[in-house]
């Protein structure tokens, strides 16, 4: 399909991007284009102005910042998966990102684009939730920071305003004692998650001291499986205990029914996949 006509501007800084966004009532940021361009081609959106941030140097790259790593919003999925910093301090992100689409898409699509797009079936918002990430956002009034838990609002909706740009994502390192795992369920390798589970577990003396579990595609937006997390806290790091705790995985979720799965099947997948993700994160299998 062919998009409707639009104006195009390529900017060199986040500030210029914000300025450009303010010149139009109906402007869109273009990151890697892997979600936006299909939307334009299907004419599901017909913005007036496209502001291309893919050349903004300050939004690209991965650096260490004390007890966190900071990933520029424009960093491609490929660069994330191959980064030693990410592999060392946020292996969950490396693992989840490697499951995104195919190599072509991963060479173009960006971490920030995936976060800003907030597709409930996307693989990266769940990781941001588990990592207690912080989003750095530039807008007309300057820069603000938003915790991941407050960032994702609804289906394809975040706290980003029309004239704001996501600049970077800060992921606190998960230190010693933490294990993580991303368990993704799809029908073919390059497709979106039907359901997926991101898990991080800190073990102490054979039991689970702390657990964080986020669900992909179990609601209009990603969410933490709070009931599972509290059931796991202090539980034995055993297969039985994990399986029992995982039975609460679908609590508080509102999965959709579509061609790939009806809601009740998604709920079952959430329970099964949570059990598997947590067990692997806890080093059990």
């Amino acid at each position: 399909m062919i998009p409707a006509g639009f104006d195009y501007v390529r900017v060199n800084s986040a500030a210029d991007a914000v300025a450009a966004l303010q010149t139009s009532e109906d402007a869109k940021i273009l990151g890697g284009g892997q979600s936006l361009i299909p939307i334009l081609r299907l004419r599901l959106a017909t913005p007036e102005l496209i502001v291309d941030v893919s050349g903004v140097a300050e939004m690209n790259g991965i650096r260490e910042d004390g007890d966190a790593i900071v990933i520029g919003a424009g960093t491609t999925h490929h660069d994330v998966t191959t980064s030693d910093l990410v592999r060392t301090h946020a292996p969950l992100l490396a693992q989840a990102t490697a499951t995104v689409a195919d190599p072509q898409v991963r060479h173009r699509g960006t971490f920030g684009g995936a976060i800003a797009h907030a597709d409930p079936a996307g693989d990266l918002p769940g990781v941001a939730l588990v990592h207690n990430a912080t989003m750095t956002i530039a807008g007309p009034a300057g820069t603000r920071e938003v915790a991941a838990a407050d960032f994702f609002l609804d289906y394809l909706t975040t706290t980003l305003a029309e004239d704001e740009v996501l600049v970077s994502i800060r992921l606190p390192k998960l230190g010693a004692g933490w294990g993580t795992h991303y368990e993704k369920f799809t029908r073919v390798a390059q497709s979106w998650s039907i359901v997926a589970v991101a898990a991080a577990v800190r073990r102490e003396n054979g039991s689970i001291a702390e657990a964080r579990v986020a669900l992909t595609n179990m609601a209009p937006t990603h969410l933490r499986a709070a009931a599972v997390e509290s059931a796991l806290t202090g539980a034995a790091a055993s297969a039985e205990a994990i399986k029992a705790a995982s039975q609460a995985a679908a609590e508080g979720t509102s999965p959709t029914s579509d061609l790939n799965a009806q809601a009740d099947y998604r709920a079952e997948l959430a329970r099964v996949l949570t059990g598997r993700a947590v067990a692997k994160a806890a080093g059990l299998s």
């Binding site: 369920f185 497709s191 009806q262 079952e268």
Partner: protein, 800 residues
């Protein structure tokens, strides 16, 4: 790769690398969309967003859009617009509702073209579509096949007063007797309902057409499998004289049957170029392709099989309801009938009854898709054979052995009247069982069952045959096909002894360049590199019946061999003349003529080529040319066969199903290039597995295609299938000079039932005896939960 250690003397039979790949890989391909012509315009089509509606079209506003040259709807053409052609009169009383390229007054499927914009750029043409006003007065969608048959169903074509295109019933006495015998003697009667879901052919290259007019000639560049048939049809439909119409199929990026039609956009393209006097191009988007390229499969199959307690088949009864979609395309009505003779497959039985009802619906028309009728038939019978084995507690291979035609019984006339020329089901099966590790996998399956493993195994069998080499013109005539089945080849020999092969059969990915070069190299003793292919252009190769039904090598290749024989005959006369010998005393081998029993004088083919065209000294009255043509019309179809064994692994907690091991031994007759054969098998396997596990075109109740993009219509990639274990047996066909049987569809036909049989086998302990295709994780999971048969699921779309 199954290269044997045989020493090759010629290029024949060697796994030579494909000549065509270099330009494909380096991007030097001539897709229609890469071509342009001076002054070229672009067309874009407005397509119906509704399944069924009365329409009133107003194109005025679009005409003033930037760059727009013309906007037309049906009323601008009137009767001159012509109609969408069909070419298979299956039954004298069949209903043939008329449909026009641009819908006239009524649309009958989502995606049907309504109007066309021609503009200076593709973007301008697309933008102006939004200014065309269409009033849609909705009519009811007809989506459910069984409901469509009912007296109170809304009609797709009110003019014909019914949704049934034709109903064919064959005599039922013999089957009734077989069934009675089974019941009386303590045998078994098994009934199942199988659903062949709608599939989208999805070639890599969507369709495109560029029509270039000159003073009174027209050249049509089309991404088509059938340049020759297309020329004939366009001439007949538009009234443009056939000899002034040239059709070129340049590089064509796949078809799978999807490019076997005469498109609305091709007919309109001719009108546009003639009216506007400028070249006009149209290239389809993937979304358009999904709506407008014909779909495949789409049948409900009610099957009943009667057998003795010992597993000997007594009879088979088939009741089909085939979904034709909104109207007839070239071979739409014939597809289910092409399968009619294949349900009995490789088995001997006393009774066979075949009834078929074909039904119009408000969905995209269906037509040939890789296998066309044969995959559906093969699926049904091979599923039934595994069901029979399960019912009797027998091994599924043993049940087949009891019933198949044994190798010494060929040629064999089947219950449906086909004559199978040759085959060896025992040999292929024996090799497949060994390659697969059948006993070892059975043992592993048992062990996993016993320990209640979360990951369960299932093993499925498919011993298939199919009818290939679509030909016998006479047979096609008897079946009501509006075409012959011959194929033509011409061998041109240049003065320097290089060969141009003019082939009627046109490649769209198969490897004709390579295989044809091997054939000619073998026959004439010239180097493989010295052979060039001219195909896909009616100017260089005016006659041909084109490429479908695994016919290229069997029919077209045979024409090449026969044409080479004529070249050799001519060359022999010249060589004999030069060598002062009697032509009958000459021998020709490895490109050299020698006198029998004499080590002395000899003459190479290249020298003869030069002598022929210098013509300084050739026999009196002889043409100074070695060029020869042959049109081959075989006496029979060919019947490749094979044994496919699939082991699936099912995650019983999620229903996720993966292929654990897949082994197949195919017998496609004599092989010219084993690497190309293997490639065809691999591609076919993936496509057949895709029907079993992934693909389905789903419509909602309102008649919208809800799997409208590749996000929802799931195609597997290399990551989703295992490495296949393949081997071959070679039982040559006796009905063509090569001995070839055809391989283009084999993998796709054989694999689907092997996979579903394996899934059902894995789930039998849960009380399951069928899972509807595609066997999605959710369907498998529900089967495990529910335990009961999945047979009889509804035919209509819907997200279940």
């Amino acid at each position: 790769m199954t290269v044997t250690d045989k020493e090759y003397e010629t290029a024949f039979g060697q796994p030579l690398r494909r000549k065509e790949d270099a330009h494909l890989i380096t991007g030097q391909t001539r897709w229609v969309d890469n071509l342009s012509a001076p002054g070229m315009l672009y067309a874009a089509y407005l397509r119906s967003p509704m399944a069924h509606a009365k329409i009133r079209v107003n194109t005025e506003a679009a005409k003033s859009y930037p760059g727009v040259v013309a906007v037309y709807s049906a009323e601008d053409f009137g009767a001159a617009q012509a109609v969408i052609p069909d070419a298979w009169t299956v039954h004298p009383d069949m209903k043939k509702p008329v449909m026009t390229p641009l819908a006239t007054d009524e649309v009958r499927y989502a995606g049907e073209p309504i109007a066309v914009v021609v503009a200076e750029t593709r973007y301008q043409a697309t933008d102006a579509l939004e200014a065309i006003e269409v009033d849609y007065d909705p009519l009811p969608a007809v989506i459910d096949l069984e409901a469509a048959i009912g007296d109170d169903s809304p009609l797709v074509h009110s003019s014909i007063g019914t949704n049934t295109c034709f109903y064919i019933e064959s005599p039922g006495e013999a089957y009734a007797a077989a069934k009675a015998q089974a019941e009386a003697d303590g045998g078994v009667v098994i009934t199942r309902r199988f659903l062949q879901q709608r599939l989208l052919p999805t070639p890599m290259e969507p369709r495109a057409v560029l029509v270039v007019p000159t003073i009174d000639d027209l050249t049509v560049y089309a991404s088509t499998q059938i340049p020759h048939v297309l020329r004939l049809l366009l001439a007949m439909l538009t009234g443009h004289p056939e000899h002034k119409l040239r059709v070129v199929a340049p590089d064509v990026g796949g078809g799978f049957g999807g490019k076997i039609n005469c498109l609305a956009e091709e007919i309109i393209g001719v009108h546009l170029a003639k009216r506007l006097g400028r070249p006009v191009k149209w290239t389809e988007t993937r979304s358009e392709n999904f709506l407008q390229m014909h779909h495949g499969r789409a049948q409900i199959q009610d099957i009943e099989l009667a057998a003795t307690r010992e597993g000997k088949l007594l009879g088979l009864k088939v009741d089909l309801i085939a979904d034709l979609g909104a109207g007839l395309r070239l071979f739409t009505a014939g597809v289910p009938m092409f399968g009619a003779a294949m349900f009995n497959a490789i088995y001997k039985m006393d009774a066979y009854q075949f009834n078929c009802r074909t039904v119009f619906t408000t969905m995209t028309p269906t037509d040939a898709y890789r296998g066309a009728g044969r995959p559906e038939a093969t699926f049904a019978i091979e599923r039934m054979m595994d069901e029979l084995a399960a019912e009797l507690g027998m091994d599924p291979i043993e049940v087949r052995k009891k019933n198949w035609i044994e190798h010494h019984e060929f040629p064999y006339t089947t219950i449906s009247g086909s004559i199978y020329d040759s085959g060896n089901y025992e040999a292929a099966t024996e090799r497949a069982v060994e390659l697969f590790g059948y006993d070892e996998l059975k043992a592993e399956q048992k062990a996993r069952r016993e320990r209640g493993d979360r990951m369960q195994l299932g093993i499925g069998v498919s011993t298939f045959t199919e009818a290939c080499g679509l030909a016998p013109s006479r047979v096609m005539g008897q079946l009501g096909v509006g075409a012959g089945g011959w194929e033509r080849a011409e061998i041109r020999v240049t003065l320097t002894g290089k060969i141009q092969v003019v082939s009627g059969s046109t490649p769209h990915g198969q490897g004709h360049w390579t295989a044809w070069s091997q054939l000619v190299s073998d026959k004439l003793g010239v180097p493989f590199e010295d052979v060039e292919l001219l195909a896909g252009d009616t100017a260089t190769g005016p006659q041909g019946m084109d490429t479908y039904g695994s016919r290229s090598l069997v029919v077209g290749g045979s024409a090449i061999v026969k044409a080479c024989d004529k070249v050799i005959e001519k060359a022999k006369r010249i060589a004999a003349h030069t060598l002062e010998a009697n032509p009958d005393d000459l021998e020709f081998a490895a490109g050299v003529f020698t006198v029998k029993g004499s080590p002395g004088p000899q003459m190479a083919f290249v020298e003869v080529a030069a002598a022929a065209q210098l013509a300084h000294n050739i026999p009196d009255g002889m043409e100074p040319s070695l060029n020869s043509a042959y049109t081959f019309d075989p006496i029979n179809l060919s019947y490749p066969h094979g044994t496919h064994l699939c082991c699936v692994e099912i995650d019983t907690e999620t229903g996720f199903t993966s292929i654990y091991r897949y082994a197949c031994v195919d017998d496609v007759g004599t092989v010219v290039n084993p690497m190309i054969v293997e490639g065809q098998i691999h591609g076919g396997l993936v496509q057949g597995i895709a029907q079993a596990l992934f693909e389905e075109a789903v419509y909602d109740e309102a008649g919208n295609l809800i799997t409208g993009t590749l996000v929802d219509y799931l195609l597997p990639s290399a990551a989703d299938v295992p490495s296949f274990l393949t081997d071959r047996t070679e039982t040559p066909s006796t009905d063509n000079p090569i001995g070839a049987k055809g391989v283009g569809e084999a993998g796709c036909i054989a694999s689907t039932p092997a996979v579903v049989n394996a899934i059902v086998d894995a789930l039998r302990p849960y009380g399951v005896n069928d899972v509807r295709m595609p066997c999605t994780p959710e369907r498998v999971w529900r089967a495990i939960q529910g335990g009961q048969s999945q047979s009889g699921s509804v035919a209509k779309g819907g997200a279940q």
